[in-house]
Symmetry: C2
Amino acid sequence: MKIKVVRDILEANQRIASENREIFTRHGVFVINLMSSPGAGKTTLLERTIESLKDTIPIGVIEGDIRSSIDAERINKLGVPVVQINTDGACHLDGNMVRECLRELDLSPLRLLFVENVGNLVCPAEFKIGEDHKVMILSVTEGDDKPSKYPLMFRESSVLLINKIDLLPYIECDLERIRASARDINPGLEIFEISCKTGEGLDRWYRWIKNNLAS
Amino acid sequence: MKIKVVRDILEANQRIASENREIFTRHGVFVINLMSSPGAGKTTLLERTIESLKDTIPIGVIEGDIRSSIDAERINKLGVPVVQINTDGACHLDGNMVRECLRELDLSPLRLLFVENVGNLVCPAEFKIGEDHKVMILSVTEGDDKPSKYPLMFRESSVLLINKIDLLPYIECDLERIRASARDINPGLEIFEISCKTGEGLDRWYRWIKNNLAS
């Protein structure tokens, strides 16, 4: 019985996510579902990426948080359209929440839409929202054992951004262990090592976005 | 209908958690439900705490993870009884999972039981497991906006351990903002600033445990 209910929810979500995907495709908008633990650097990555690309690519953002509009306010300062979803306790975004945002967000001028999910390394990976790609961030401060302990998100993502590499001199973290265990779970995973603070490694991430927009 | 299902699950869990609580009380075991984001330092805190207290207090540990037994292996090396729960995808521990562990764990010799929850700043806070206190860790690398964005865990916890303060020189994090916003949500919250790496601040945490065991 319990399994039945869960399956119903996932199937209903899958249907709405597919409809979202059609809407995005019709508008020619490439959609990235950005996921990570709390505080791994999702909003900072978006700030950096928007600053670098907004003059050549029209970008919009949907900000998902349980509470508050702190992140939407940060993005709003950059002059790109942003809509905040407050999940009011829910631990992930789903297709329906994203659909509701589309009433407030004009897709017509956009080419790229970032959906920043709730900070959670577990639940968001289970729910499609109509994205082209899931992209995840792992901060080096979270430790090099995370792929083995939270495999689903690593399996579902197309790109893994290993962030805060500027802190490597001050902590114990084996990057090779992260890379090897993540690729063991998902052999096709693209992995970029970055620092949103210093800007190191971000060029490869921007190139990945541009290549995917062009294709 | 959806609300009904969720309420049923929470009520059933509450009943099992209350039964667990009676079992723990009968055995004179003080139980701490330890929660945080992935990689904030739960297992390292347990290692430190066990090393410091195990000669005077008989300690046991239940390790909750989605996958793997990495954490249980770390605890096992310290020579205290440990049981690993693998939730196989589930994002939190519940009363029933902890009950199952009690078949494998002899409570009779114990005075203190740590239950390390799944790394997740959202869902674990909703489910009681029969604990005396919920204790949470926030790493300074997660950022000072976390109480406003994830209020439930801060509200439910008796103690907030702000960890990795050795990294403060290398990051931007306003401890006073964390303290003020956490106390705004939960005025009775005990807050200790610690570094599990250097050992700074851990004495106050050990004293809190001893005082609570004595009362």
